[in-house]
């Protein structure tokens, strides 16, 4: 089976208080980045997995997100397209 690498972004659910993001946004504004309207701090992971094809690899990783990588109560996830590893 071919191997793929897939990047995943896990971010705090929109609307949920994100004190980390706010602290970073405040710091950026202090540095003079006046245009900063919001920052959200999450996690970035890369997963290497074998699968029948890129589509199946993506679906696999989405299932990983639903069952472990993201907390369904507080976090959203985005799965990038699979690239050959």
């Amino acid at each position: 089976m071919p191997k793929y690498r897939i990047a995943v972004h896990i971010v705090p659910r929109k609307g949920l208080l994100d004190p980390q993001g706010k602290a970073v946004a405040d710091a950026l504004q202090t540095l003079g980045f006046d245009g900063v309207a919001g920052v959200h701090v999450g996690r970035y992971m890369t997963i290497e997995t074998s699968a029948d094809d890129a589509l199946a690899a993506g679906e696999n990783v989405r299932e990983m997100c639903r069952r472990l990588l993201a907390n369904p109560v507080t976090e959203d996830f985005e799965v990038e397209s699979a690239v050959p590893a």
Partner: protein
């Protein structure tokens, strides 16, 4: 009465729980290793505080896959009492035995301090030795203790009388100032649908002796004894 105290790699309140249950309460207690496949005939399971599996990924996220948690979940599903304190509360939420999640404290700080919590219900397995509205002094020690759940879940918890403890000030008001971590509706502890699983961020096992600043936690364990032995 036999208590089973689960030790995960990174648990650090298991000894405190053991001390409270054996030396203060005079009950039997055994440690349950995370790789164990049985509860050693424990009547009540305690998931202690700490940083199970280094809190990797999220607090409590990995612990729920340990062999012992399969036994704890089965025990809970058949009505067996389970008490999760601090990291134990986080594990119970991650395992789906309690609703909601515990996220980073609103002020981003790790808070180690005595707090006041108000007893919201005395109808439970865990609080029948308290008075309704009574204020307890119990310590907290956590960085990820902000209880969160969607509004519909919070409303259901309140409607079913499952919010058991709330952070309160000296007069018993559940004000924003009395909320150390930004928890929704000042929630400090909740029970499961059938009332046999309690998750709470404050540490009752560390409040079992006046020498340590408070013995308000003793009656929580006495409540369990009264109900389970009866």
């Amino acid at each position: 009465m036999k208590f089973g105290i689960v030790t995960f790699p990174g648990s650090n309140c298991d000894y405190d729980a053991y001390h409270a249950l054996t030396d203060v309460l005079g009950e039997d207690a055994v440690y349950l290793w995370h790789k164990d496949h049985d509860l050693k005939d424990a009547d009540v399971v305690v998931l202690p505080g700490g940083f199970s599996y280094g809190d990797y990924l999220r607090a409590g996220a990995i612990a729920r896959f340990s062999p012992i948690m399969q036994e704890v979940a089965a025990h809970a599903r058949t009505g067996g009492p389970v008490l999760g304190v601090c990291n134990g509360f986080q594990v119970l939420c991650e395992a789906g035995l309690l609703p909601g999640a515990l996220v980073r404290n609103a002020n981003l700080q790790f808070i180690s301090a005595p707090v006041r919590i108000r007893v919201e219900s005395t109808e439970t397995l865990f609080t029948n030795r308290y008075e309704k509205g009574e204020l307890l002094k119990i310590p907290i020690a956590h960085g990820d203790g902000r209880y969160f759940a969607p509004r519909a879940v919070l409303d259901a918890l309140e409607g079913e009388g499952r919010v058991i403890f709330r952070y309160a000030d000296a007069r018993g008001n559940t004000s924003a100032d009395a909320n150390p971590n930004g928890s929704e509706r000042n929630i400090a502890g909740i029970v499961s649908e059938h009332g046999n699983v309690l998750g709470m961020m404050p540490h009752p096992e560390r409040a079992c002796s006046p020498l340590l600043g408070s013995d308000d936690g003793v009656r929580l364990f006495e409540s369990i004894l009264a109900r389970v032995a009866a």
